[in-house]
Point group: C2
Chain length 366, copies 2
DNA sequence: GCTTACCCGGTAACCGCTTACTAAGTAAGC
DNA sequence: GCTTACTTAGTAAGCGGTTACCGGGTAAGC
C-alpha cells in the first residue's frame, strides 16, 4: 500500500474497488444494498471501506442520482445589532426551523440554513446560490417578492411559510382567521371590553394582513370600538411594540382597553413599555399576542395568545416540499389549525394549572 | 422551442448555451467571470440565463471544482421532551451556530445543520452522511469519541468545539483556566467565602474537566474548603442543576457558601431550586455560572459568570476550518479569551448600569 | 453431454459543470 | 502579401458516483 500518500486525497470508490479487488460497480452495490453480492464480495468491500474510512462524495452521488437530499431554508436574522437585550429567546423562526430539521432527518434529508441580514441586499442572488445546492427551498416570510418567488419556483420546488401560494409554489400557514376571531370574541364577549386596537406587524406580511383584516371585521361584528390610527404600526419586534406604546403615551393619547398584538414579540415589547409607565396589565389595559412562542407563558402576567403549532408548521413545510420533490402535486395552500391559549394578560384569573398539553407532537405523515 | 415540456426538467448549461447560440464553455465563462468574453456574447448568455431562470447545479459544480462550499455542523438537540418549560432560550449552541453561519456567509459558504437526538444512536452514520455533503465538519462537544473523530478526520477536515485537538483535527475552545481562576479568586479573596462546591457538567466533557480541575486547584490555593461528593454531578442542564440541589436539601445536607456551576444553564436550575426552598441568593448561598448565555443577565439576581465570546467561538471555528479546507496548516489548539462578568448572584451589589460592552464583535480574520 | 436459466460482477455511459487545449479569426509587423 | 501574435470561442476530458447492459460461470434439465 501507499505511493502518493501525503497528498491527502480523499479516497474514491476506485480506491475502495482496487483495495477490495472488485469493480466500482460492486462497491456501489454493496454500499447501496442493490443487487445481491456474494457474502465474500460484500465483506471485502466493507473491509476496504473501513480501512480507508471511505465516505462517498455527496456531490457525485447527487449528480448521478439527480437528488441531493438537501433542502434549503432561507430566513431573516433578527436585527443585526440585537436591538436591546430582551429578545434573545428561541423565537418563532427558530422553532419552525427545528421542526423542519427534525422532519427532514426522518427522510434522510439535511438542511442547508441560510440567514439573511435584516437590511441585506442581493437576497435573490443568495437564494439562487442555495437553490443550486438543494433539491427544494423553504422560504420564510418576506424573503422575496411574489414575482421573485414565482420565477424561482419555475426551476426549483418552493414552499413558503406564512406567505401566499402562487401558481407554482406551495404555502404553509396557520389559520389566522379562526384564531383571531376566537380571540376577539373572548375579549369582547367574555370580558366585555369595548375598545380595542390592533398593533400590526410588517405591513407586507400576509399573516399580518389577515390578522388585521379579521380583527377589524370581528371587532365591528361584536360591536366594539376600534382605535385605528397611523400610530399603531409595529414590525413584529419587541422594540417595535415598545416604541409604539411609548410614543402614544408621550403624545398623551388614551389607550384602548385591550391591545391585540400581531405577534408575541410585539406583545412582549408592549408589556415592557406599559410596565415602565406603571400601567397595570391586565387591570388597566389587556394585552394579547399571537403565535404562543415558548416565552409567552413566562411573562408577567402570562400572555394570552393564539397558539400556532409552530414546530409542526416547519415539519409540514418539509413534508409538503418533500412530496413535491418526489413529483406529487397536492394542495397549494396548506392551513394548520390554531388554538386560543387563555392565560392572564387578557384579564382572566390565574388558572389552577391543569398544565396545557404535553410538548407539541408532530404531524403524522400522510 | 419546446418538445418535451411538461417534464419539468430544470434547464442545464446546455440549454442555456443552445438558446444563446454559444458553447457551454462560454456560458460557464460568463457566469464565473473567467476569460474575456465579447460584450455581445456576454449579453446573449445573460439573457438566456434570465429567460430560463437558469440556476447552475451545485452538485455538478462541486464535483468539477472539488469544492462544495458547504460546511457541516453537528450538534445534540436538547432533551427530546423539553424537560420542563424553563429553558427554551437561545442557548450556547444556538449562539455558536449563528456565529458559524455568519462567518461562513462571508466566505460564500453555506451551513448544513444536523442535530442529533440526545439519546439517538447511529451518530457516526449520520456524521458520515453529512461529511459526504460538505467540505469540512464542525463538531460540537461530545459528538464522537476521540477515536471516532481521529478516524473521521483522516478523510475530512474536522474542527471540534470544546473538545481536544487530535493529531488530525483542530479544536477551538475558550480559556477555561483563567476564567475559573479569576472567578474563584473573586469568590474567595474578594467576598471571603470559605466553602465552595463545583456543580459539574457532563463528566466526559473536556470543558467540564478543565473547569473542575482548576476549580479545585485554585480553591485549595486560596485556602477555601471544598464540598466534594458524588452528589455534585450535573449534566449541563437546568434540570440537572435543580435535581442536585433538591436531593442535597432533601438529605438535609448543608450547602456551601458558594456554588460554582459548570455552566449557566446549570446555575439557572440551581437558582430555581434554591428559590423554591426559600434560600436567598446571594445572601445565603452565592451562585455563579460559566458561558454568559444571553439570559444570564436577566435572572434574579443577575448571574455572575465567565463570559465566553460565544458567537466568536463559532466564527473562529469556521475560519479555522476554512483555512484548513484551503490546505493551510495552522495551530491545532485555538483558545479564545474569557472575561469575568461580575453581576449580583455572587454577592456583589447592584451595579449602576454602565452597560457592559456593546454587542459582541466578531474576530477580524487572520 | 449439451442446452437453458440464473446469478454475479464488470464495462462503460451518463449526470451537469469547469477548464486545458486548440482552432479560427483578426490585427499588427515586415 | 505573408508571417506572427493575440483574442475569443469551441471541443473534449475529467470530477466520483450509479446503473443499464452484457458476458462468464455454474447448476439444473433433457
Amino acid at each position: 500500500m501507499g505511493e502518493a500518500k501525503r497528498t491527502r486525497v480523499t479516497p474514491t470508490i476506485y480506491d475502495v474497488a482496487g483495495r477490495a479487488g472488485v469493480s466500482i460497480a460492486s462497491v456501489s452495490r454493496v454500499l447501496n444494498g442493490q443487487g445481491s453480492p456474494r457474502a465474500e464480495t460484500r465483506m471485502r468491500v466493507l473491509r476496504a471501506v473501513r480501512e480507508l474510512s471511505f465516505v462517498p462524495d455527496g456531490a457525485a452521488r447527487a449528480l448521478s442520482n439527480q437528488l441531493k437530499e438537501v433542502v434549503g431554508v432561507v430566513f431573516r436574522r433578527g436585527s443585526e445589532v440585537p436591538f436591546e437585550d430582551e429578545e434573545e429567546s428561541l423565537l418563532f423562526i427558530d422553532v419552525i426551523n427545528r421542526g423542519i430539521e427534525v422532519a427532514a432527518q426522518r427522510r434522510g434529508f439535511d438542511v442547508l440554513m441560510s440567514s439573511v441580514g435584516i437590511r441585506e441586499d442581493g437576497v435573490s442572488t443568495r437564494v439562487a446560490a442555495i437553490a443550486g445546492k438543494a433539491d427544494g427551498l423553504i422560504l420564510h416570510d418576506r424573503m422575496l417578492s411574489a414575482a421573485g418567488i414565482a420565477r424561482l419556483a419555475e426551476s426549483v420546488p418552493v414552499v413558503t411559510l406564512a406567505g401566499r401560494p402562487s401558481r407554482v409554489s406551495i404555502n404553509v400557514r396557520c389559520d389566522n382567521e379562526s384564531g383571531m376571531r376566537a380571540l376577539i370574541r373572548h375579549l369582547v364577549t367574555d370580558h366585555g371590553y369595548r375598545s380595542l386596537a390592533f398593533l400590526s406587524g410588517h405591513p407586507d406580511s400576509p399573516d399580518n394582513q389577515a390578522r388585521a383584516r379579521v380583527f377589524e371585521a370581528q371587532a365591528i361584528a361584536c360591536g366594539a370600538e376600534i382605535h385605528a390610527a397611523a400610530a399603531w404600526h409595529g414590525d413584529y419586534s419587541a422594540s417595535g411594540g415598545a416604541r409604539v406604546i411609548a410614543s402614544l403615551l408621550d403624545e398623551g393619547r388614551i389607550l384602548p382597553r385591550a391591545i391585540v398584538c400581531a405577534n408575541d414579540q410585539t406583545a412582549l415589547g408592549v408589556m415592557h413599555a406599559l410596565a415602565r409607565r406603571g400601567i397595570a396589565v391586565p387591570n388597566e389595559v389587556a394585552v394579547t399576542g399571537f403565535d404562543d412562542v415558548p416565552v409567552a407563558r413566562h411573562l408577567h402576567p402570562p400572555l394570552t395568545t393564539v397558539r400556532q403549532p409552530i414546530q409542526e408548521l416547519g415539519a409540514t413545510a418539509f413534508e409538503v416540499l418533500h412530496s413535491r420533490i418526489n413529483g406529487s402535486a397536492g394542495r397549494r395552500d396548506v392551513v394548520l389549525p390554531v388554538r386560543l391559549m387563555i392565560r392572564e394578560s387578557c384579564g382572566c384569573a390565574h388558572q389552577p394549572s391543569p398544565l396545557p398539553a404535553p410538548a407539541a407532537t408532530v404531524a403524522d405523515e400522510a
